[in-house]
């Protein structure tokens, strides 16, 4: 084929290319953990606590042990002989947490014993046959009561259940000494024309990934190596932690995340079930599998959010915000997991919002309760910050009778002020908040919507408009900000046939990186999209990595992939230069050819050059054979994407049922590789953010029993809960990475939640309502309209 006959390859980066992952995912050809079958595979089932809090007096496993097909039954005490307490990733003091409870249970669903049996059904039958005698203790349920007076203690040695007693931050706080100077704060509030003061909650949520957790562990006695397959967001962290817990070298552990059906943050943590599976596989010398069922997922997978705030805002009458103060109390549940204690610190970090507020102070306390532990959930701390700030700004707008958009615009950090260091210590990389606000107002038809709302109100209908603005910390992050290290790794190999195989430590579980990363590499090398394959999720294949969380894959994983690609491309140019008798700096890579600039007909095909690189006769001087290289890279700073979400809501006057009639989102994630995938990420984020505002809430009763233990009582958003989403983007690139990409995986959850509540409060304002806590239960709204309070 001559160059003239070869097709001109289309542009790839920035194009709406369909996800290559989808055909296998939607036709049942994907391999999840539960699809794995190994010879001699045994199955685990956990006996879990029905009590929220109690002392384990006795566990009778005799009946279970005698059941046919049962290989082994272990209590927490027995397991503790071969498995120490679980490690966490935060520096705060933390109580010992064993994979299976040894002496006390501290939440409903905490494992108390494990059964190993020939199949999953037998294992469950045997787990049901275990008799557990628990002496009940009072359950600690309300975090504010838990930290005052003489409450029951969830853990010995943690007075008043304080997991993190007190962390101050912001204006007047010396970060080195934690000394607090209140003079600026006091002055701002004393001089304010308007003070807003409100207690707000950001309720507990269940992540509910479509695929529950699962693990297969296979210790091979002959090799003294373990392979562990897990539905995890970060196989390399899993490998590190499993090696540490088993007391083996990292060379003895291979961790594989096969297809992972969603994570939303709850699959960052390495769980007791994973450690237990690994330890038991080694003990028995046999492969074992554990698959979580949905009931377990509700009570044994980490929950998200659950933080309350006493918010105080000081402002001038013209809408200028002069100070913001938040007293934050996080209910972290029964134990510290991998990032539990760190999530609320991200709430603190982002309390400046998108605003140039001169005085911002936060004080954080984290409290243990007898509930499922919390950890990251889509947004992880930042949606909570956005919610508190955006509710407070909306309350100010209502108080002053100002347009909510105007209050925000008045206080925005201006476009030319970046990089901007906030009072909380974040350094915002770039931003153009007014442009995205204007776009959102224009797309929504804001002025007309206000008229429609007023018209509807005049007709006696209950209609409200809500606007919220967010900024998020993404692209995590320099190593100083992550205990795992804040870099990412990539490898790029040109195969002998000219196809490109790349590896990435960003292990996607729904983000579409097999597609976006292939778009980038194909464009970098000037080859066809179909000629690039992205491998991920297997520490035996991907040498190093951190993982996928904090909207970091594109900004960090994408950058390092380009860097690895550039190294290989330079080397490939040397081979091509030798073949073409040209200078390597004069070559162009395009349309599957490497040619001398200006004479495309003279070139060699990609496959010809690749083939030569592996059989280089003669070997060009100073060049090693082969085409493969790798790179590590970490950013100097996080990225700070932003956006504006607007919703319109109508509430049924008679029933209190809220219904969204309009959702408009303008998001700025910096450079976009694949707009279709970005739309999908925003779409899902909006749904989850709206879900939190309207229909999702984990509820415990006063005895610490989980009331919302199934989809019968815990709703997740369905298509008919949501209106059409009108989505748009502005593009403000980041200087933090060469692509200018900021990240988008969590963004949708940030603005939508406060926008929905702002709309509800706006709708209910004729009834004198100034605030309502989530979720927006119809009965709650109905009571507000009856004048009875929520």
């Amino acid at each position: 084929m001559t160059a003239a006959e070869r097709p001109i390859l289309p542009k790839l980066v920035g194009e709406r290319i369909k996800r290559r992952e989808d055909p296998r995912l939607i036709t049942g050809h994907a391999t999840y953990v539960d699809d794995l079958k190994l010879p001699g595979l045994l199955h685990l089932a956990f006996k879990r606590s029905d009590s929220a809090h109690g002392v384990i007096k006795n566990i009778d496993t005799s009946a279970a042990e005698q059941m046919p097909g049962v290989e082994l039954v272990m209590t927490g005490k027995q397991l503790a002989e071969i498995l120490g307490p679980m490690p966490i990733g935060t520096p705060f003091p933390s109580p010992d947490h064993y994979a299976i409870a040894t002496d006390r249970v501290r939440y409903v669903g905490e494992p108390v014993a494990v059964v190993v049996a020939a199949d999953r059904y037998l294992a469950r039958d045997a787990a049901d046959a275990i008799e557990v005698d628990i002496e009940e203790l009072p359950a600690v349920v309300d975090p504010e009561k838990a930290m005052q007076g003489e409450p029951a203690a969830v853990h010995e040695g943690f007075e008043n259940n304080l997991a993190v007693p007190y962390v101050p931050g912001g204006t007047g706080v010396d970060p080195a000494t934690m000394e607090v100077d209140n003079s600026a704060l006091d002055k701002a509030f004393a001089e304010a024309d308007v003070n807003i003061s409100q207690r707000m909650t950001n309720q507990r949520l269940a992540p509910n990934a479509m695929e529950p957790r699962g693990v297969v562990a296979h210790w091979e006695p002959g090799k003294e190596q373990i392979t562990i397959w897990s539905g995890t967001q970060n196989p390399h962290i899993l490998k590190t932690m499993i090696a540490a817990q088993l007391g083996v070298g990292q060379h003895q552990v291979r961790a594989i995340a096969p297809e992972v059906g969603g994570g939303f943050g709850c699959k960052i943590n390495i769980y007791g079930e994973e450690y237990t599976a690994a330890a038991i596989s080694r003990k028995l010398g046999a492969p074992v599998k554990w698959i979580e069922d949905r009931s377990e997922a509700f009570m044994a997978t980490t929950h998200g959010r659950d933080i309350l705030a006493y918010v105080d805002l000081a402002a001038k009458r013209d809408g200028t915000v002069t100070a913001l103060k938040l007293r934050l109390i996080a209910d972290v549940g029964a134990y510290n997991m991998l990032l539990t204690a760190a999530v609320p610190t991200l709430t603190m970090l982002m309390l400046n919002g998108t605003y140039d507020i001169p005085v911002v102070r936060a004080e954080l306390t984290e409290v243990f309760t007898n509930k499922t532990p919390t950890d990251a959930y889509r947004g992880a701390g930042r949606p909570e910050a956005t919610y508190f700030v955006e509710r407070a700004f909306d309350m100010l707008a209502h108080e002053l009778g100002m347009d909510p958009a105007d209050v925000r615009r008045k206080n925005f950090i201006k476009k030319d002020a970046f990089p901007y260091t906030t009072q909380m210590g974040a350094i915002y990389d770039s931003g153009d908040y007014e442009t995205a606000l204007d776009r959102a107002l224009q797309n929504a038809g804001w002025e007309q919507l206000k008229q429609e709302r007023d018209q509807a109100r005049a007709e006696g209908r209950i209609v409200g408009l809500g606007l919220a603005y967010y900024v998020e910390v993404c692209g995590l992050g320099p190593s100083a900000s992550l205990p795992t290290g804040g870099w990412e790794h990539a490898g790029v190999t040109i195969e002998r046939d000219g196809r490109i195989t790349a590896t990435t430590g960003s292990s996607p579980h729904g983000q579409g990186n097999e597609t976006t990363f292939a778009q980038m590499l194909a464009e970098q090398f000037g080859v066809a999209f179909d000629d690039v394959t992205i491998l991920h999720g297997d520490t035996g294949v991907v040498k190093q990595g951190i993982g996928t969380f904090g909207s970091r894959s594109q900004a960090v994983g994408g950058t390092v992939l380009m860097n690895a690609g550039e190294k290989v491309k330079k080397k490939m140019a040397k081979f091509a230069a030798a073949m073409l008798d040209a200078n390597e700096d004069d070559l162009v890579f395009e349309n599957g050819m490497i040619s001398v600039k200006g004479s495309p007909g003279s070139g060699k095909t990609f496959a010809e050059v690749a083939s030569f690189a592996y059989v280089p006769v003669p070997l060009p001087p100073g060049v090693e054979p082969g085409l493969s290289d790798e790179a590590f890279w970490e950013p100097e700073n996080n990225t700070y994407p932003f956006g504006c979400h607007i919703v319109m809501m109508e509430i049924d006057r008679e029933t209190g049922e809220p219904r969204l009639t309009k959702v408009v989102a303008v998001d700025d994630a910096g450079t976009i590789i694949n707009p279709m995938i970005v739309d999908g990420q925003i779409h899902g984020g909006l749904a989850q953010g709206i879900g939190q505002a309207m229909i999702e809430e984990v509820v415990y009763d006063e005895d610490g029993q989980l009331v919302t233990g199934s989809f019968m009582d815990y709703a997740i958003p369905r298509a008919d809960d949501l209106p059409w989403f009108e989505m748009d983007n502005t593009v403000t690139t980041t200087p933090v990475n060469p692509m200018g990409a900021k990240g988008v995986g969590e963004a949708g959850t940030l603005g939508s939640t406060p926008a929905v509540v702002n709309a509800a409060v706006d709708a209910l304002s004729p009834f004198g309502v100034k605030h309502v806590d989530m979720m927006l239960r119809p009965e709650k709204l109905w009571r507000l309209m009856q004048g009875g309070g929520a």
């Binding site: 049922e657 009582d713 109905w782």
Partner: protein, 283 residues
Amino acid sequence: MIPTEFDYKRATSLDEAIQLLSSSSEAKLLAGGHSLIPLMKLRLSEPETLVDIGRIPDIKGIREREGKIGIGAGTTHHEVETSDLLREKAPVVADCAGEIGDPQVRNRGTLGGSLAHADPAADYPAVMLAIDAEFHIKGGNGWRTVKASDFFQDMFTVDLADDEIIVNAMFDPIQSASYAKLHQRASHYAIIGVAAALGVENGLIQWARLGLTGAIGYAVRMPNVEEALIGKQPEQDTIDAAAGIAGDGLEDINSDLHASAEYRRAMIKVFTRRALEGAVARL
């Protein structure tokens, strides 16, 4: 689902199903499975034998015969929802089916399963009461017929012996009937559901039947509302007055995470009015 061990038997005929049902004291019928399987998943139900009646042709389908409409107990909610015959002859039944659960539930769940299970918040019972349906039931002792108003007895309790199977529901065609429902957003069961059916002649309401679900342990008629309607003109004032006493005197109103008893009481009136308005609109 990880249930306890059970035997599975697929019946090919009604009589075989009855025989299988009689042969074990702990046998349960499996049709769409949308009530039974969630209970088995939680091990709240541990049947020894499942008798699958999902492929018995005699209990499926929607037919009109001798002026009556019959729906086979094995007919799915989706088939009811989309039935042209029902849309034409008894639209309230199709409307009700379309309000059940979500598409997955409607594609599997069956009329008979819903009636036999008698969840306190199920939709069908309210409508069956309002259209005065009768259920044809077959068991070891042969056939019998039970009126809907006698069938629902208490929470998860109906007039059905262990060896009996609901074969179909029969009712007269009806236009002037409507179902109004407040959805529980997680399960999409009814927090309150009201079905209203009206007979009007010479400009006056001759008879009225109102079925209420979600309010107490089982679906009930609302005789006080019915009496308030009879003999009146089908106008807004009549509806408002009748709906205004809906639920009055009803005791043991359900109260849960999703709705307090007080809220449910208020919603009985709201949804009674809406159901009556819907029925009048079809006169």
